[in-house]
């Protein structure tokens, strides 16, 4: 038995194919990105090594909307963590009580999650369309014509319009995760609380939420990392415009590399995006650890 399970040739044959693909597609490119980020290179001509100059340009001499991009990605992160996840938690708490139509609500809230962001983006572009879009039409019907505007083309409303769609699309995801967490709690835990006459609110605050803290952590992590990686929706809706109003680091990286051929500078951004994701993951782990001690 031991001999069969430690057959080196078999281990190699099982693991190596997956490892090759993974290394080729995920790991090695990261090192290349790091290398490119030290170059002044337009992709066609010769490249020159310039050390950390790209990073200096990114953080210090920046004037191409990078600050705006970071601000926006933090805005997405903030709304995802402090609006989307709490709303999802309330929905999960309410529908997991065993109300009528529990399955229906769960299924309906979740639908936007599985639809392609490209389709979602195109659809909302039509919804926000100034003349014939659903939103302005609904406002007209409600007699609120004064609120009508060109939502995605106005710098003041563009980011809010994008944020709404992001929350709309993924709220069902967090709801489902939290719901499954709540459903995994054994029912008899609530019995003692019920004997003591606890209200639903007390049960949620004192029993359910502490017990699903690990799942809340997963949601917060996904929401945060997901917002730092936002690309598709903004690329489809606004491409980062108008005048960088909805720019995020990923869209800025994309346009720097593929529209302006700044391969080195764009790579510096891509390295920044990885570091940002790692940093935030560590940060969340710290926050939740600290909390579990005080509890």
């Amino acid at each position: 038995m031991e001999k069969v399970l430690s057959d080196k040739k078999a281990i190699f044959l099982f693991v190596f194919p997956a490892f090759v693909v993974f290394a080729m597609v995920v790991i090695i490119p990261i090192f290349f990105s790091a290398y490119y980020s030290t170059l002044d290179w337009n992709g066609i001509g010769k490249s020159t090594f310039i050390g950390i100059q790209n990073y200096v340009n990114l953080f210090v001499n920046n004037k191409d909307g990078f600050a705006m991009a970071i601000k926006n990605s933090f805005l997405v992160a903030f709304f995802s963590v402090f609006v989307q996840v709490p709303l999802a938690l309330i929905l999960a708490l309410v529908i997991s009580k065993g109300i009528k139509g529990e399955g229906f609500f769960r299924t309906v809230y979740f639908i936007p999650v599985i639809i392609s962001t490209t389709v979602i983006g195109q659809l909302w572009m039509k919804i926000y369309q100034p003349k014939h879009g659903m939103l302005n039409k609904l406002l007209e019907i409600a007699g609120l014509d004064s609120l009508q505007r060109n939502w995605l083309a106005t710098p003041q409303t563009a980011m809010a319009s994008v944020l709404f769609v992001i929350i709309w699309q993924y709220i069902g995801y967090h709801m489902l995760l939290l719901y499954s967490g709540i459903k995994a709690i054994p029912g008899d835990i609530y019995e003692a609380a019920e004997v003591d006459g606890a209200t639903n609110f007390q049960k949620a605050a004192r029993i359910t939420i502490p017990l699903i803290a690990p799942m809340i952590k997963v949601c917060v992590t996904f929401a945060l990392i997901g917002s730092l990686k936002t690309f598709d929706l903004i690329y489809v809706l606004t491409k980062g415009g108008p005048i960088h109003a909805t720019e995020v680091p990923t869209t800025l990286m994309f346009s720097n590399i593929f529209l302006q051929n700044k391969y080195g500078y764009g790579s510096a951004m891509s390295i920044f995006i990885i570091l940002e994701c790692l940093l935030f993951t560590v940060f969340i782990n710290k926050v939740f650890k600290a909390e579990s001690i005080t509890y």
């Binding site: 693991v15 997956a18 065993g98």
Partner: protein, 301 residues
């Protein structure tokens, strides 16, 4: 069992118990329960109405879409929009490409992940833990950071503008999650299975193929759904690694359709609906399984 128990305890049902012998239709608790229902339905409407609106305008003529009441139901179902999107809009071609790319990615990911997970979780070697760590680290790496190096690599390898240019990166980025789920699943299977097969004289490949593979089917279903969704819906790689019409997938095709059909919402809407139909069919036919695949992916993450 549990949910049945909680159904009884839910406030809406509790109202009529001990404290309220006279059932008032307008008791405070009842109003609360109705209010709750109303809010839930309102949110459900916000989630679903945009999608219904899309289906409606995909069946309308421009006159109707831009007419007096664009929110109304279509007067006559205009299936011609779908025909034009499929043929003139090239959506049919993009659809086939998406099927090819996604199917290849799902099948190869499942096979590679099953093999690697078996090697990592059941076989005995020193670096198995390290190997698992390396794969799991991949879940943290954003696709964006590999975009340019992959683009340059695919061009140099002359894979740019082929199906492989999409299938290969999709597999690479699907593997971490797939291995994560499968390693967890292998851990729940009893050792005795392999031992008895071993005593019967089966070799390691026979054990894997005829004993393990049939057992991990549920976990493979989970990762297949996950991989399907991420590949079918992917845009950034698809728009970067393929520029020729013959190899474009649906997401890119739709982006290209936008300019051409800027003022013809019906055809564009039809294209959007066609791109979504397979996902909706999968979701409707196995919504429990789909939802499960999302929660398993998150559980130990």
């Amino acid at each position: 069992m549990e949910s049945a128990k909680r159904v009884k305890e839910a406030p809406g049902y509790q109202v009529q118990s001990s404290h309220a012998p006279k059932k008032s239709k307008f008791g405070i608790k009842n109003i609360k329960a109705y209010g709750e229902k109303f809010i839930l339905l309102f949110i459900a409407a916000i989630q679903i109405y945009p999608l219904l609106w899309l289906i409606m305008f995909s069946l309308k003529s421009n006159q109707e879409i831009f007419g007096k009441n664009p929110l109304a139901l279509p007067q006559k179902l205009l299936w011609g929009n779908y025909e034009r999107a499929l043929l003139d809009g090239n959506i049919g071609r993009y659809f086939i490409n998406s099927v090819i790319v996604t199917a290849a990615a799902v099948v190869i990911t499942s096979v590679l992940a099953a093999m690697a997970s078996y090697g990592i979780s059941r076989m005995k070697w020193k670096l198995s833990g390290t190997m698992l760590m390396i794969f799991l680290l991949g879940m943290m790496i954003p696709m964006h950071s590999t975009l340019l190096p992959l683009f340059i690599f695919l061009k140099k390898a002359q894979l740019y503008n082929t199906y492989v240019a999409l299938v290969l990166p999709y597999i690479g980025f699907s593997l971490p999650m797939a291995i994560f789920v499968l390693v967890g699943f292998f851990g729940t299977l009893p050792r005795e299975l392999e031992e008895s097969a071993c005593l019967d004289g089966a070799n390691i490949y026979q054990i894997f193929a005829s004993i393990m593979l049939p057992l991990i089917k549920p976990a493979v279903a989970t990762i297949s759904i996950f991989t399907y969704l991420s590949c079918w819906n992917e845009l950034m790689f698809a728009t970067t690694f393929v520029s020729r019409q013959e190899y474009k997938t649906l997401t890119v095709g739709i982006m290209g359709m936008v300019g051409q059909y800027a003022t013809r919402w019906g055809e564009l809407g039809a294209g959007l609906v066609i791109a979504t139909i397979p996902t909706v069919i999968i979701y409707i036919s196995m919504s429990k399984q789909v939802q499960k695949s999302f929660t398993t992916g998150a559980l130990k993450g």
